[in-house]
């Protein structure tokens, strides 16, 4: 995202707030370091003008916060939506999770966000500060060295294969829509599919064994917006609070989580972004998306409000289970 967009966003949001159009704004502000930009709610135009950050580190999908914020806040809530976040926004609307009238959405153009893990790996030592330049990051390390890292080398995978940079929901658009990414979103899933069952098993055992059940994936996921998660619900029969001795617990959690968001997941990639163990959780969701597309025809969750999700509809000649989509 360009500096110009950040300026525009600050100006417009503050204007709206001063005019009483919105009572608060869901946006991002700088955290402890330049690279950890975190979601926040601004209540005054001054805060917005001073602290709102809209740049390649504004990765978090804000749409989920609308559920609680619209319940609490007075008047209309402002929100900044990257194109991918706008799909989540629509999906939440489809599920009646907030009232559209209570929200004013400012659409942001996006060319990708930075994978901070990748950046840290690339820099190789502690980062002191970051300056965003055209197409590159100027990183000053703790040892005082200044490195220039091309953005193209540290864009997040989810942005390289982004399903669409064309926003599907906003009240006003700040800046120009950027061209779509052209990499194949399902290449990684296909690679796994082409492995033998043994290899896949080994892959996922290695990945999922690292899970510490911190619930970060669940908490960030805009589709995981249940009032109370089944894994916290004593009547569900599967309530678990923490990793148990049972060797299957984490797999069950992740499979069920993926299943619960199947047909609703917009592939925003937040789950993998926040995972402290860097488990590629999005590959589970993407598998469902790929299967849904091939079994039941292309479907993009959140592309339009009110569409019927694949798991709550059917046709009489759907493929039989276990046939790999064959009818």
């Amino acid at each position: 995202m360009q500096k110009i967009t950040e300026d525009l966003a600050r100006r417009r949001a503050a204007e709206l707030m001063r005019a009483g159009e919105i009572s608060c704004l869901l946006g991002w502000k700088k955290g402890e370091f330049d690279y950890d930009v975190e979601p926040t709610v601004f209540y005054t135009p001054e805060e917005v003008e001073r602290e709102l950050v809209c740049n390649v580190f504004s990765a978090a999908n804000l749409s989920k916060y609308l559920i609680s914020l619209t319940r609490k806040a007075e008047g209309r809530v402002g929100i900044l939506l990257k194109p991918c976040d706008s799909f989540s926004f629509n999906q939440l609307l489809t599920e009646h999770r907030f009232d559209r009238e209570r929200v004013y959405a400012l659409g942001l153009p996006c060319e990708g966000t930075v994978d901070t893990f990748l950046l840290k790996e690339r820099v190789g030592e502690g980062i002191y500060s970051i300056k965003i330049k055209d197409g590159a990051l100027e990183v000053e390390t703790l040892s005082g060295e200044v490195k220039e890292i091309p953005l193209s080398e540290v864009y997040a995978e989810r942005c390289l294969v982004c399903k669409s940079r064309r926003p599907v929901a906003y009240d006003e658009m700040l800046g120009e829509v950027t061209p779509d990414a052209d990499e194949d979103r399902f290449a990684q899933v296909e690679k796994l599919e082409s492995m033998t069952a043994e290899e896949r098993y080994a892959f996922w055992q290695g990945e999922l064994s690292r899970c510490i059940r911190c619930n970060a994936c669940r908490n960030v996921c805009p589709a995981c917006s249940c009032e109370r998660c089944v894994f916290d619900n004593p009547t569900s029969g599967v309530e678990t609070k923490a990793p148990s001795e049972d060797s299957f617990e984490e797999k069950m959690f992740h499979i069920i989580r993926a299943f619960h968001v199947a047909g609703r997941c917009t592939d925003c990639g937040e789950c993998s972004r926040v995972c402290p163990e860097r488990i590629p959780l999005h590959l589970l969701n993407r598998k469902f998306i790929k299967d849904i597309n091939s079994f039941y025809g292309d479907y993009t969750a959140g592309a339009e409000v009110g569409s019927r999700a694949p798991l709550v509809s059917y046709t009489k000649d759907d493929p039989e289970p276990g046939q790999g989509g064959q009818k």
């Binding site: 098993y201 996922w204 055992q205 599967v238 060797s247 797999k251 059917y314 289970p321 276990g322």
Partner: protein, 144 residues
Amino acid sequence: MQMTDYKPKIVAFCCNWCSYAGADLAGNNRLSYPAEVKIIRVPCSCRVNPTFILRAFQRGADGVIICGCHPGDCHYTSGNYFARRRMALLFSMLDYLGIERERTRVEWVSAAEGAKFAATMNDFVSTVAALGENRRLEDLRCKK
């Protein structure tokens, strides 16, 4: 492990109207199938939550089969169509995770198909038995 000694644990979810009645008919006609098959009665195949299936695998089941009315014949008109979608996706996911796809199955068995019920169970048990014990996506950390 000797294949002949190995008895897989099989959980069969049967809808009350067709498949559970089909299983009863298999009994009425004295059509035998392995005792490893234990049936759980549900009103409809659409009552089967993927959680139940994963829970069965978690607790040591080697195979899980869901039986319902034939598509178009659901007592509740559409339950099995939803079940079919859910299971198609879930089974594909389990396969993706490296759990053999032969361990899960959906079969449509009507109340009149006692013979099909018994034949299905015989086939399913021998298929699962041939795979051996389920490795259940074990967590590396839990390995002794």
